[in-house]
């Protein structure tokens, strides 16, 4: 990254009191230093208190908006506070914070607007269930066809965005299951997307935002949103 860039780590967290302190500490240990913003998505536990105790900025939503609304709050914060780069790091500890620098290097090296940390570019020990593999396959196929560029990990939330992308997403970010859809929106609006291989941990606490039963609903809904996006007029930049 160019020296002097101001970097914000956006950490969406919903009832993550057991994991959040460790996640924050891990990000605070990253060099070059990164500011941390925890977006507490209407948690009913002590996520906010734990995050405040770690000395980072905390924004608490008055009620649960879902991951998309939470991350978008982070983009808005990044716009207001004039950050150059925003990195999304999930509050459950599955992303490896030390790999933020990997994303930043790729962003700088390949002049990308968006860098996605991918679990699937190399086999780095991520195990997935059959349903999940199917979903992953569907998104890879659909998004590759629509964008004519192969994105191997459309559901990864471990991503870095530059100033231009932050500004755009602060106005246009899907709400419920934003990751696969945002790839399409970004690609369609001319942002350059790159991927790089990263590790991901098995989650230790809390539940995935997608349970087994809801994965079908998830897929239908996201696919519908993606197909609708194709016919939408390009958003204003």
């Amino acid at each position: 990254m160019s020296p002097g860039s101001r970097i914000l780590a956006i950490v969406p967290a919903f009832n993550e009191e057991r994991a959040i302190s460790r996640v924050i500490a891990e990000i605070q240990a990253v060099r070059p230093p990164v500011d941390v913003l925890v977006v507490d998505d209407g948690s009913s536990d002590r996520t906010r208190e734990h995050a405040l105790a770690s000395g980072c900025a905390v924004v608490s939503l008055p009620f649960n908006l879902g991951i998309g609304g939470a991350v978008q709050t982070g983009f808005r914060y990044a716009v207001v506070h004039d950050y150059d780069v925003a990195v999304q790091v999930d509050g459950d500890g599955q992303h490896v914070a030390s790999e933020i620098s990997v994303l930043l290097d790729v962003m700088h090296g390949r002049q990308a607007d968006v860098v996605i940390g991918s679990r699937f570019m190399e086999r780095k020990g991520y195990k997935a269930s059959f349903a999940r593999k199917l979903g992953i396959f569907v998104f890879v196929t659909v998004n590759s066809l629509l964008l004519r560029k192969r994105i191997t990990d459309n559901t990864s939330g471990f991503r870095a965005y530059n100033r231009k992308a932050i500004r755009f997403l602060s106005e246009n970010y899907p709400q419920d299951y934003p990751e696969p859809e945002s790839v399409i929106i970004l690609g369609k609006n001319g942002f350059s997307i790159e991927e790089t291989a990263v590790h991901m941990r098995e989650r230790e606490h809390g539940q995935s935002s997608i349970g087994a039963v809801r994965s079908v609903y998830y897929m239908v809904k996201v696919l519908l949103a993606i197909f609708v996006d194709v016919f939408k007029e390009p958003n204003h930049r």
Binding site: L61, F63, T73, R76, Y77, V80, Q175
Partner: protein, 118 residues
């Protein structure tokens, strides 16, 4: 006028009366009442002026004119329901934006307060 006509005209007038009353008492905004008033007027017109209903049915090939009336009523209902979905979607978006703004502003206020204290 046949009995069924009198009943349906009365029902239509009732609906109109209720809508006006709701607007008058500020419990229904005009913009949302518009579709309701339009629907009530269409149904009223159709029940009062049977000839129109018969001609309309013949025109689109409905053999049993009352079913044209049902069709109209259902279409009106669906139009209103769709309108509501549009309105709800807009409100949901605005609600999200408001929640985000409130959260960000609260954070700014807290930051300002702690600066003031020190």
């Amino acid at each position: 006028m046949e009995r069924v006509q009198i009943v349906s005209v009365l029902l239509g007038l009732c609906l109109l009366g209720i809508i006006f009353q709701l607007i008058r008492k500020n419990r229904l905004l005009e913009q949302y009442a518009l579709l309701w008033i339009l629907s009530a007027l269409i149904l009223l017109l159709m029940s009062a002026w049977r000839d129109l209903l018969h001609k309309l049915s013949a025109l689109v090939g409905i053999y049993y004119p009352p079913s044209a009336l049902f069709l109209l009523a259902i279409l009106c209902g669906m139009m209103i329901a769709l309108h509501f979905s549009v309105v709800i979607s807009r409100l949901t978006k605005q609600n999200h934006t408001l929640a985000q703004e409130v959260a960000l502003l609260r954070r700014e206020v807290d930051a300002l307060k702690s600066v003031k204290k020190s």
